[in-house]
Structure formats: C-alpha cells, structure tokens
C-alpha cells in the first residue's frame, strides 16, 4: 500500500506551504468523500425500491476508511459526519453518530485482524457490522419515537448495503491509491 510521502522543500527539514496544504487536503479526503456519499444518497433517484430502502453509503465509506487507513476518520469526524447525515435526513440527531462511533471503536479494537486486508473476510465482517448498525439504528429510532418500526425494511436496507459493498470498496480503493500514492 502506498504511504503518504514526507517531503521536504528545498532541502529544508520542514515541509513547504504547498506540501503541507497538499497533506492537509489528503488527510481531509476520507471525511470529504463520506460527506459526498451522504449527499449522493440524498439525491432524488427515482429508482424502484431505492426510495424506500436506500443503502447506507456513509456506513460503507466510514468502515472502508477505518479498515484501509486506520485513523483517517477520527472519532470527532465520525461524530460530525453522523450528525450531518441525521440533520439532513431527519433521523433523530445523534443516532447515526452513535452508530459510527461504536463501529469505529469495534474496527479499531480489531485492527490486527484487518492487517491482512484480504477482501472476503473484510466483507464478511462488514456484513456483521452493517446488520448490527441497522438493527442499532432501528432500535434507537423506534425508542426515540416510541413506535416499533417494521424490521423487514431494515433487513432489506442491510442486504442492499452488504450487496453493494464490493462495488464501493473497489471504487474507494481506487480513490485511496489515487490520493495516497507516493510522489516520485
């Protein structure tokens, strides 16, 4: 995996302004891409079924970056991304933040497992994470509204999210290489 370059400017140990700005933007990329995915998931798609059981694109992104580049999405960033999604979708504010924080906690605690980075075990773990996240959010929204929601919609939402994970993991993997490849 390509690592972020530590470049110096004109022989000085301290990197130059452009290099620092470049590094800063690269560090922001995982959160920025997740935010873009949140906005994309809000666009009026008109696709059959998609309207009613939209996949959790932001969950895919947060999980991918937590596994691929541990630390690239910190707890504070995950909290803000979750809050932004809740504010835009109208879900109880804090519910997605809570789901993201707990997921990050789980992924960080199992960092050694993800070191090998083979796809299928990661996908399997993501499947468990997606189902857990959906059930957790279902519980939080149901509790918040004092109304038990239909579990079938949650099941479909999890299944769609799990099914499209490979496609998004591939695309995000490509973005990861593009953003973090070492400068020659």
């Amino acid at each position: 995996m390509a690592q972020k370059g530590t470049r110096s400017s004109f022989g000085s140990d301290r990197p130059g302004l452009w290099v620092r700005l470049d590094d800063f933007l690269r560090a922001l990329a995982p959160a920025g891409i997740t935010l873009v995915l949140i906005l994309i998931s809000l666009t009026p798609s008109r696709l059959p079924f998609f309207v009613h059981v939209a996949p959790m694109l932001s969950l895919i992104s947060v999980f991918f970056w937590a596994v691929t580049r541990p630390g690239s999405i910190g707890y504070g960033t995950a909290f803000l991304l979750g809050a932004a999604e809740d504010a835009l979708t109208g879900a109880p504010l804090g519910s997605t933040s809570l789901v993201f924080l707990l997921m990050l906690m789980l992924v960080n605690s199992q960092a050694r497992f993800f070191m090998a980075r083979t796809f299928f075990p990661t996908w399997w773990v993501f499947s468990v994470v997606a189902v857990t996240a959906a059930v957790m959010k279902w519980g939080l929204v149901s509790l918040h509204n004092m109304h038990v929601m239909d579990l079938r919609a949650i099941a479909f939402c999890s299944l769609i999210t799990i099914a499209i994970y490979p496609l998004f993991a591939w695309a995000l993997g490509w973005v990861n290489v593009l953003i973090y490849r070492s400068p020659e």
Binding site: P44, L93, G94
Partner: protein, 296 residues
C-alpha cells in the same frame, strides 16, 4: 530496534487516555442529542435548518444528473408498459369525462346553495412552487428537501401538496431551502376524514368519519384513532379534516388499501414518494397548534 524513551512512552499513554476520554465524551454527547431531540424545539430545528441551507447549493447541483440517470431506467420501464398503459389511460379518460360532467353539475348546484346561505368563503390560499432537490428516502426517516425557504415566504407547519394530493408538512425552514416531512414518516400524524363508500350496506347514512393517519416509515401509513366505530373498507377515500388547524379541509390524501387485524388499516397514498419533482407549499393562513418560533 531503538528502545522507546520513558518520555515518549508517557506521551503515548497520555494520547491513548485522551483518545478514550474523547470517545466516551462523544458517545455521551450523541446520547444526549438523541434525548434532547425529544424535548428541544428551538436549537435542534435551527441546527437542522442551517445544515439544509448549507448543503442546498450542492444538492441543487447534483440533483439534475441523478434525475437524468434515473430517467433512463424510467424510460425503459415505461416503454415496456406502453400498450398496457395506453389501454388503462383510455379507460380512465372515459371514466373521468363522466366525473367531469358530474362535477360541473355539482359546482353549479354548490354555487346556487352558497348564494342561498350567504356563505362567506375562506381566505384564498397562497402557493409557493418549489423544486425537490433531495429525497431522504430510507428506512429511518422519510422527508424531502425543497428549494424554497424563509425568503420565499415558507413557514414551519405549512402543508405541501403535489398535483395528486397531500405530500406532507414543512418542518425545518432555512433561508433558501426547507425540509418537508412526508406522510409516511414515523413522526407524521395528520387528522383526516374517511369518506365511507356510499355503497356500504353497513352504515349508509355515515358519510365521513374522523381519524388520524399515522406514518411508520413504511410505504403505507396506518389509520388510527377512529372517532366512531364504523366499518372501513378498502377503497374508502381519505381527505384532510382541517382539525387542529394544521391543514385546510378536503385535500386528497389517499385510499384505504387493506383492513387487517394484525397490520391495521393501511392507506395507499395518492402521492408516490420518489416521483415528486415539484411541490406546492400552501399557506392557508392556518397557524397550527404548535407556534412557529421564527414567525414574526
């Protein structure tokens, strides 16, 4: 390998402790926000409105290409159903022509009766047309973001309609964009009138019954709190009742789709989520039971 100095070990431990502490604080904050969301009616709605406003330009920019992509799928589906759709529309047109004649007769009769009663008409409604720029479809919330806000005259609590009928209510109002809660959302509860089918042999004299249409994030909201013990049947029509001063009376809502002991009375809405491009925000001059903190 170079051994770590005690100083750097201390820094690592301190960093780890701070990380754990920040995680605990953020978890508490998230819990706190969920609890606060139940009671706070000022700060959190303003925060949501701010967020809607901030993202509106981006959503406005990305909505048309997404619609175009979806339009391709829709065209393919429409082509496949073309002949069947044409037959259905011809039959529907014949039926509607008969209804048109009946409606014209009733309109004349209505005008004559109003004249006899010296009826004072309600104030005319004001409409604000707005483009839908986001459809937050999903299992956890059902809402739309529309491109009209405070500067266009939109206020919290105003009803939102499409050509087919009622869409929902404005809940968060930003300067140039607003969020509309749909009838299918779990937080949506609207007073309705069920127009009992006149062919019903059970209670032919009861024509309208009050009830509440309650969303549960499924496609078909549920009819609850029926005011009278009547037999509701599939096909019975629902309109807004105008109670609680939330909506004007008589806006078409949907028809009863199924009546089941386990799932309750489910309603098929006239407006299909996911096919709404333009909505009309209606100001009937109703203030609603909840005061709008931004009003005035």
């Amino acid at each position: 390998m170079k051994p770590q100095s005690p100083q750097s070990t201390n820094v690592s431990i301190l960093r780890l402790v701070l990380q754990k502490l920040s995680l605990a604080l953020l978890l508490l904050l998230a819990f706190g926000l969920i609890l606060l969301g139940k009671t706070d009616t000022i700060f959190l709605p303003k925060l949501r409105a701010l967020m809607v406003d901030a993202t509106a330009p981006v959503l406005e920019f990305i909505a048309p290409p997404a619609k175009n992509v979806a339009g391709v799928f829709e065209n393919v589906r429409d082509l496949a159903e073309l002949r069947e759709k044409n037959d259905r529309l011809v039959a529907e047109n014949t039926r509607l022509m008969r209804w048109r004649a009946a409606a014209l007769d009733l309109e004349v009769e209505n005008q004559r009766l109003k004249g006899l009663l010296h009826f004072v008409p309600p104030p005319e409604a004001r409409f604000i047309s707005a483009k839908v720029i986001a459809d937050t479809g999903g299992s956890f919330a059902r809402s739309l973001i529309v491109l009209a806000g405070k500067k266009d005259g939109v206020r919290k609590g105003q009803s939102v309609v499409a050509s087919e009928g009622l869409v929902g209510t404005v809940v968060d109002v930003g300067e140039r964009a607003s969020r509309v809660i749909l009838l299918t959302d779990i937080n949506s509860n609207i007073p309705v009138l069920v127009e009992i089918n006149p062919n019903s042999p059970v209670l032919p004299e009861t024509s309208r019954v009050k009830a509440i249409l309650s969303g549960d994030n499924s496609n078909m909201p549920q009819l609850i709190f029926l005011h009278e013990p009547v037999t509701i049947r599939p096909g019975d029509r629902l309109v807004t009742s105008g109670d609680a001063r939330v909506f004007e009376q008589g806006i078409p809502v949907g028809v009863v789709a199924s009546v089941n002991e386990q799932t309750g009375i489910r309603v098929d809405l006239y407006v299909e989520q996911g096919r709404i491009d333009i909505v009309r925000i209606v100001d009937f001059g109703q203030t609603g039971i909840l005061p709008d903190e931004d009003h005035d």
